[in-house]
């Protein structure tokens, strides 16, 4: 209610300002006095992980727009900053973009720790981030960040929901690697599933090590009689997990993984396995190159000669969302006008995602609440759910 009235007031004011300032024949739309519109991204590129495909895909979109003459004549100047997964460097990178590059917003960031380190800074400096790939828990728990992906915590709920409602598994078990600040978020993810389905989880283990032998954990799952096991292992760990299960000759358990397990490399590395392996996707499955939902994204990426990965969907989607927001601005594109547009935007549906995207003025944002489930079949991913698995809202 309050949101609507704010919206009305603000849009009223904007109309008034627009009328007052409007030159006689000026067309509505974004303008840029200072030349280009400066946009940035903080991403982990070197160090323990490489998320650079996300912002690079966003860059492809912006480059294409620039080549076409820009947004209403304004070129977009896009800067990608590496944070090395080092908090000090991440903080520096963010301040560099805000203070020196004078970015109007952050778009397509994808980092192991950008949100956790910088969300406070973004709030202090009044900058918003359309995160290309939210990884750490703060991405879904901060007023100034709204990711275009589902994220591991909502996906935890979604995978459990799929296992209990579609696979009809009774005893669900969950094993998590907990790194800084994610414990509460994963627990919340499980609690949400329990609220939605009215069931309770059979076994939760929050002690998975980041590295090391997994045998004890698989033995534990087997001895607990789990029907399906969900873990938040990332790429190499997914392979290690399934291989350890094979080494222990475990069968009759469904293995559920989150989006980081959904890569061509994982499928190849596990080509020989008989184990039932499921993953949840962040967006329309990227391996489905024939799907119409992917058509535009594929066209843009192939034109730029970039490979088709899930990461690149994130960057693409973030850039497209941002362009739509830009186009809705009347008048000069500044940090303030972009903020206003994002905070007051209406939910907008995109083919790539199962839920409409919205930023809005809430204290935390997790607009994406839908996934598609993929199953591993002989070294390739196949779609298990042609329709989106959309989570019912939690009471």
């Amino acid at each position: 209610m309050r949101g609507t009235s704010t919206f009305l007031t603000i849009s009223g004011l904007a109309c008034f300002a627009g009328l007052a300032l409007a030159e006689p024949a000026a067309a509505a739309g974004p303008t840029c006095d200072g030349g280009a519109i400066s946009v940035g991204a903080v991403s982990t590129i070197t160090g323990p992980a490489d998320f650079s495909e996300v912002p690079k895909a966003a860059k492809v979109v912006f480059d294409a727009v620039n080549a076409d003459g820009g947004v209403n004549g304004c070129q977009i100047d896009y800067t990608i900053s590496d944070d090395k997964a080092d908090p000090a460097v991440a903080a520096q990178a963010a301040r560099d973009l805000i203070d020196n590059r004078q970015v109007v917003a952050l778009v397509g960031s994808a980092s192991l720790l950008d949100c956790a380190v910088n969300a406070t800074t973004y709030k202090r400096q009044n900058v918003l981030s359309v995160q290309g790939l939210g990884v750490d828990a703060a991405c879904f728990n901060a007023p100034s960040v709204s990711p275009v992906n589902v994220g591991p915590y909502t996906l935890t709920t979604a995978m459990l929901y799929y296992a209990s409602e579609t696979l009809k598994n009774e005893k669900l078990c969950a094993f998590f690697i907990i790194i800084g600040g994610t414990q509460e978020a994963y627990k919340q993810g499980i609690a949400n599933w329990e609220k939605i389905t009215g069931r309770s989880i059979h076994l939760v283990d929050l002690t998975l090590p980041l590295q090391g032998d997994l045998t004890p954990y698989l033995i534990k799952a087997r001895d607990a009689g789990c029907d399906a096991v969900l873990t938040n292992q990332v790429e190499p760990g997914v392979v290690q997990w399934v291989k350890t299960a094979e080494a222990q000759k475990i069968d009759g358990m469904n293995w559920l993984f989150l989006a980081p397990g959904y890569t061509v490399e994982v499928a190849k590395a596990l080509a020989g396995t008989e184990q039932p392996v499921y993953v949840g996707t962040e967006w329309e499955p990227f391996t489905e190159t024939g799907s119409t939902a992917n058509a535009e994204w594929i066209a843009v990426m192939e034109k730029a000669g970039r490979s088709l990965t899930a990461f690149s969907q994130g960057g693409y989607l973030a850039a497209v969302v941002f362009l739509d927001v830009l186009n809705g601005i009347d008048g000069p594109v500044t940090r303030d006008s972009v903020n206003q547009a994002l905070l007051t935007m209406q939910p907008k549906a995109y083919d790539l995602a199962g839920s409409p995207y919205v930023f809005g003025a809430a204290d935390r944002h997790a607009p994406m609440q839908a996934t598609k489930i993929m199953k591993l079949e002989k070294g390739a991913w196949t779609v298990e759910t042609p329709d989106w698995v959309v989570l019912p809202s939690v009471e």
Partner: protein, 289 residues
């Protein structure tokens, strides 16, 4: 009780790995007097090269050989730095050098291996050897333990019974004096570095599929390895072997105690602490200081 035993057996895989790397650390220390923090990183470099060679289309075993060769070269390269510039330095300085080098090697390793992207690690020895307490004990973990035991016995024999072994011991105690006795110090140390490089590489190739196969985690296997070596006071191969097995089994045991297993990477630290407190009962002065 049974749960405890099961957990301990599940820790065998790690135990063999730690023991093998621990014995390698003692070998390096006794022969070239360096506490080598880059030990596991050298092996990791070789292991990742093997994957590279496979990606280039080499069949498995030639790729293994090529990977071991790269590990040997990496070991020799670190050895070159150590013998060229630090042969006369104190043990502390040498340890400081390898600790600093580790920073650089991990940074480069992560770069060349693409961070945490999964690499398909071929299992050199697939399958399980036998079933114990409801746990499949893999051939690989049996093999690491067997290798560790074999290496322990060989190293003992080599150092105590052969001429070269005696030369090498003289070398690590007093490089200058050994030089005067006509021992070709630089060449021999180079050789030791190369051999340990080859050995750790092969060890890591066996271990890698059972661990989180990214460059940093594998390089950090040096921590339990050094803890194991410390159990043997950097002298005794057998105690180091026992230490490595113990650390692995204790780590496995923690998973029997629910939330404890979250903290299992503390085990090497606790073992180091206990060993040092125990070995410190009598006052001792640093040699030659």
């Amino acid at each position: 009780m049974n749960a405890l035993f099961t957990s301990a057996v599940a820790g065998l895989t790690a135990a063999g790995a730690y023991a093998l790397l621990g014995v390698c650390a003692v070998f390096t220390y006794r022969l070239v007097a360096v506490v080598n923090f880059t030990g596991a990183a050298i092996g990791t470099a070789g292991t990742f090269s093997m994957i590279g060679f496979i990606a280039l289309g080499l069949p498995l075993w030639p790729a293994v050989a090529a990977g071991v060769a790269v590990g040997t070269l990496a070991g020799a390269a670190i050895g070159f730095v150590m013998t060229r510039w630090f042969s006369e330095a104190s043990a502390t300085t040498k340890a400081a050098v390898t600790a600093a080098l580790l920073v650089g090697i991990v940074a480069m390793g992560l770069r060349f291996t693409g961070g945490q992207h999964p690499q398909e690690f071929p299992t050199l020895f697939p399958g399980s050897a036998f079933r114990l307490a409801g746990v499949e004990v893999t051939i690989a973990s049996v093999l690491t333990i067997v290798l560790a035991v074999a290496f322990t016995m060989l190293a003992d024999l080599f150092l105590n019974r052969t001429n070269i072994g005696l030369h090498l011991r003289a070398l690590s105690a007093r490089p200058m004096a050994a030089e005067l006795l006509g021992v070709r110090v630089a060449l021999l140390s180079q050789l030791v570095w190369a051999v340990t490089g080859a050995f750790t590489t092969f060890a890591l190739m066996i271990i890698a599929p059972q661990r989180s196969p990214d460059f940093m985690s594998l390089s950090l296997l040096v921590v339990p390895a050094l803890a194991a070596a410390l159990v043997g006071a950097f002298r005794s191969f057998r105690l180091a072997l026992a230490g490595g097995l113990m650390i692995g089994l204790i780590e496995g045991l923690t998973s029997a105690f629910g939330s404890l297993s979250q903290y299992r990477s503390i085990v090497p630290f606790l073992v180091v602490l206990a060993v040092l407190l125990w070995s410190q009962r009598g006052a001792r002065w640093d040699e030659a200081r």
